[in-house]
Symmetry: C2
Subunit: 292 residues, 2 copies
């Protein structure tokens, strides 16, 4: 089976590395430089200070035509609108898609895509793109996958890759919602305060803000079993306590963040329901104002 | 006339320097080291890159007895409760007091002080304590003074010191309220975001937060002519746009901040009136959590 991966960021490289153990992988990058680097020197993954190498094919995204059986979309949420237009233009063959984005902002974009089968995924790995062809796998977690439209047809061998567990979920909405709530608490607070994930629960004042924010978020999203959601936030903070969130890394690297897909989505939901979202509003503007 | 100044921080040194042009000034410091430094080498003020020197007497605060005619209290608001107890113990002679603190948290402490005449002051200077005996006067503003209790008895010569205007105000409450509102907007936002005062109005997202915060604050403080208060915030941001606020400097230097006296006071007012203060609450905990 052939797999295509669109996007050469940390998550794209991570998926390319592990999936190449079982499948024929082509990674589609934004720049020619990155594609050449991967083709000439290979793709490297660093885990627990050990370096692993694999060989994958890489091409610039303008060469993509959908000829692989399964295509993972590993671009940032804010790149998706343009990306989906381009996919519709370039696609000449029928492929199935897996979307790896955070948040829920991308759901409304999926109907623009001409595709039979679409999966959504919630990625719980810690990964850092060290070089153009090297990714550090700092936090071995898992990737949850749920069917969004079409028929389930994933090869069984995808579920048994060492250090890269993939778990099927029944309900894509609940799966993304859980990740959204976790991201909505951890990402903006760590990015604003320039602290690690653990600090959010270890510092009693930050924890107070996190709790108030959580209550606002579950109120807006109409989540009933909020206790299990709260426990999940605590668990992630605890299990990744030394990690710097993706939004913090984006702010520090002067990249745009995913604040629109995460907190922006929640604010939109509040507006639809004519609810107030003072804490989300404030965090949204803090992060937007900090973006370069 | 003899003047005593309690506190050898930036504002204490600033007042000591300028008042020494007209009066016999003694500055009471926390440490013996600072008192000796001032006594042996003099007190320096830097303004527009020019260095000025004066000679004042300095003693450790435990030598204070209230023998001067007028005593300026230039310690931080959070040092006041202990300071007032100590003043009551050490005072053997009758002196009048001028309090220079930010915020309004100190008002409730003043009734504990045994004093005939008390003035309150709102200081609008930019000053930075470069060394133990050197203060930089970065922003020449003014000091407003209003009578809090007792009888007006300030010497006229205090009102004509070059680069150090002192202005009498009729209403101490309104005077402090104006400063409080300005501080409540500029201080926590600049300290949290690590930006200069001007950034608060130049960055459209930060300005949005500042506006929401302002509306919450004037609602809680029951301020009617809110437009003039808002204009004052804009003016201060504009006139001191390159400055780093005192709270930002405190955070950067790992010192405690005056958040209790400023935002804490507003939250207390909200609680008294059974009003919500979500934005103030959040900023309060952000700053408290960032204090070392």
């Amino acid at each position: 089976m052939r797999i295509g991966i669109i996007g050469g960021g940390s998550i794209g490289l991570l998926f390319a590395y592990y999936l190449s153990e079982r499948f024929n992988v082509t990674i589609y990058t934004k720049t020619v430089v990155q594609a050449e680097e991967i083709n000439q020197n290979g793709l490297f993954l660093v885990r627990s200070s050990k370096v692993h190498k694999t060989n994958v094919t890489s091409q610039c995204f303008d060469q993509w035509s959908g000829k692989e059986d399964l295509t993972f979309i590993a671009v940032k949420q804010y790149q998706l609108p343009d990306m989906i237009k381009q996919i519709n233009i370039q696609q000449t063959q029928s492929t199935n898609f897996v979307f790896l984005q955070n948040g829920m902002g991308h759901l409304k974009l999926l109907k623009q895509l001409s595709a039979k089968t679409i999966y959504l995924s919630s990625v719980e790995h810690g990964a850092y793109k060290k070089y153009q062809n090297t990714v550090e796998h700092n936090g071995v977690g898992q990737a949850r996958i749920a069917l969004y439209q079409g028929e389930l047809s994933l090869p069984t061998s995808i579920f048994s890759i060492s250090h890269f567990p993939i778990v099927m979920e029944q309900d894509y909405y609940e799966m993304l919602l859980k990740k959204l709530v976790v991201n909505a608490i951890i990402n903006p607070l760590t990015a604003l305060l320039h602290v690690t994930n653990g600090e959010i629960i270890q510092n009693k004042h930050y924890f107070m803000v996190a709790t108030n924010l959580f209550n606002e978020v579950v109120g807006i999203l109409n989540i009933e079993n909020s206790e299990s959601y709260f426990n999940q936030v605590l668990e992630v903070c605890y299990n990744t306590s030394a990690n710097r969130s993706s939004m913090l890394k984006d702010i520090e690297a002067n990249r745009p963040t995913e604040i629109d897909a995460i907190v922006g989505y929640i604010i939109e939901e509040a507006e639809k329901k004519k609810m107030n979202a003072p804490i989300c509003q404030m965090l949204y503007h803090f992060i937007k104002g900090s973006e370069r």
